[in-house]
């Protein structure tokens, strides 16, 4: 069963559509209310999680802390998504759920005139100042999404569909989602379900490793976990054993493979690697 990820240049728009779709179609709605659970689990403030997800305005959390907080959000969101028939908005899932065919990714662009008016009214700004403020918000979101997830939120090619709420209204958007979710290409298959499960396991291992090893990439394939870590030759033995110990602490992890690289961009090319069968 298809799951739906919604995003918008106006967060309220995505939230409204997600709520309405969940109500209408009997989907589970997963949104910002998940943050209280995440905050409790990791003993962090909900406010900080919101800052980490927002990415605009003055930087209220350091980059390192933001990455850790986002890893918590990512793991918790993926845990709900593996259940099927979920609609999610506000948790940036559109930026880290990649290449899973039964997850429909839709971006809704707010009616620009309406948004400009509402923003100006809300913040008591002239039209020109509101326009500038919205443009600044856009730039900040592009920077935040690129820094945190390596992709711009405003790139239309990362979504399955982008709809603008100018002449197409919300009711029609709901219908587009309903119809598209029924297309064969968006149905769950064993392979796509496994890809999502792999993403989930990788995210859990990422949470376990990130505080100690901030420069890593984690992939999972079944119970096999592959970690690329940036470290020097001198630190390698310590780093490899440290990562394996932490990764094996995550439930369902079997084999842990660690590759050390000098540059994470080389993660898939010519990396040194150490393999260790489970039970060593």
């Amino acid at each position: 069963m298809t799951s739906i990820l919604l995003s918008s240049d106006d967060p309220q728009v995505a939230e409204d559509i997600a709520f309405r779709f969940a109500q209408g179609e009997g989907y589970k709605h997963v949104g910002l209310s998940l943050l209280s659970e995440i905050a409790k689990k990791h003993d962090v403030s909900e406010e900080k999680l919101q800052w980490a997800l927002d990415g605009t305005g003055a930087r209220k959390v350091s980059r390192k802390e933001r990455d850790v907080l986002l890893s918590y959000v990512q793991a918790a969101t993926l845990e709900t998504l593996v259940q099927d028939r979920v609609v999610s908005a506000g948790l940036a899932a559109h930026l880290y759920v990649k290449n899973v065919s039964h997850v429909l990714q839709l971006r809704v662009l707010a009616n620009p005139e309406k948004r400009l008016e509402e923003y100006g009214e809300q913040h008591k700004l002239s039209r020109r100042k509101a326009q500038k403020a919205l443009e600044k918000l856009r730039e900040e979101r592009i920077r935040w999404s690129t820094e945190s997830f390596g992709v711009s939120e405003y790139d239309p090619s990362i979504y399955d569909i982008v709809v603008q709420l100018k002449q197409i209204d919300t009711d029609r958007v709901l219908r587009i989602i309903r119809e598209t979710a029924a297309f064969r290409g968006f149905q769950t298959m064993t392979y796509s379900r496994r890809c999502l499960q792999n993403l989930q396991l990788a995210s859990e291992v990422h949470v376990a490793l990130l505080p100690s090893y901030p420069a890593i990439r984690v992939k999972a394939d079944g119970d096999r976990v592959i970690v690329h870590v940036k470290c020097s030759k001198r630190q390698k033995p310590q780093t490899v054993s440290g990562i394996k110990e932490l990764a094996r602490g995550v439930e369902t992890v079997g084999l842990v493979e660690v590759h050390t690289v000098s540059d994470l961009r080389d993660a898939d090319i010519g990396a040194e690697h150490t393999q260790s069968p489970n039970g060593e």
Partner: protein, 270 residues
């Protein structure tokens, strides 16, 4: 009665979608036909018009101002077709030209770089590196072209009502979605929107008539009242004025025609 423009990234399979939409709705599917018509009307080889519509501006600087003429002629042919309604246009930048007409459904077809590279590798028997290089070159060219002509980035999603990522959809599913949107009452032509289209046809016709001699003109039209904007200069202004007077006879529906010398044209001017 709707006009659908389908803008497509290079090698994104948008043409197949456009043809499917046209077939499903019983609409005319246009791209080359517009070039052919412009070619006949203005007595210019089709290949030159095609190059004008596809090549990056830097290459065409050698052609001098003729590029502006070619583009204006194609725009005039396009708007004449669009005024007949029930067309699917999948040539360059139709969505930008027609953006102020309410009954135009503006669609963009995109595909991931990975998919486009695979497509080009198969089609052109190229390596991945060469295919990617070619695609980036084409993308850059199209962006430059649209930016130089309309001042917008064609990849900006806010220019469109709908953006679809092929091949996450198969052609039929993508076409179905587009057809459903096209049938919405919001995209049905109204007397007001038909008037806006008629104004655009007239503005493009006037521009096409003037551009060869006066490449920097911009034109607006509203209910037969035509405004022609041109660069400052007394002598220049006089020449333009005497030229536009002759257009009253040759272009239908002009009630009044004025020349504004040195004034900045409004955003909606062609």
């Amino acid at each position: 009665m709707t006009v659908i423009t389908i803008s497509r990234g290079s090698k994104s399979m948008g043409m197949a979608v456009a043809e499917h939409v046209a077939e499903t709705l019983g609409y005319e599917c246009l791209s080359r036909a517009v070039l052919l018509e412009a070619s006949e009307q203005f007595d210019v080889p089709e290949i030159k018009l095609a190059k004008a519509m596809h090549d990056a501006p830097s290459i065409l600087e050698r052609l001098g101002h003729r590029k502006h003429s070619y583009v204006a002629w194609v725009q005039s042919a396009l708007t004449r077709h669009a005024a007949r309604d029930n067309i699917v246009y999948h040539g360059l930048a139709g969505h930008v030209l027609l953006k102020n007409v309410a009954h135009v459904l503006k669609v963009r077809i995109v595909a991931s770089l990975e998919h486009r590279v695979a497509f080009v590798m198969r089609q052109e028997n190229m390596s991945a590196v060469d295919a990617e290089h070619d695609i980036h070159k084409m993308d850059k060219g199209r962006q430059k072209w649209t930016k130089s002509l309309y001042g917008v980035d064609p990849t900006d999603a806010t220019l469109y009502d709908l953006v679809l990522n092929i091949p996450r959809f198969d052609v039929k599913d993508a076409a179905d979605l587009i057809c459903q949107c096209a049938k919405l009452p919001q995209f049905a032509s109204t007397p007001d929107s038909k008037r806006d289209m008629a104004d655009l046809v007239q503005a493009c016709a006037v521009k096409a008539a003037l551009v060869d001699e006066y490449p920097d003109v911009a034109v607006t039209s509203k209910s037969g009242n035509v405004l022609v904007y041109c660069a400052a200069g007394d002598r220049h202004g006089r020449k333009v004025r005497s030229r536009v007077e002759s257009l009253r006879q040759s272009i239908e529906g002009i009630n009044n025609i004025e020349v504004h010398v040195g004034a900045s044209p409004p955003e909606r001017a062609v």
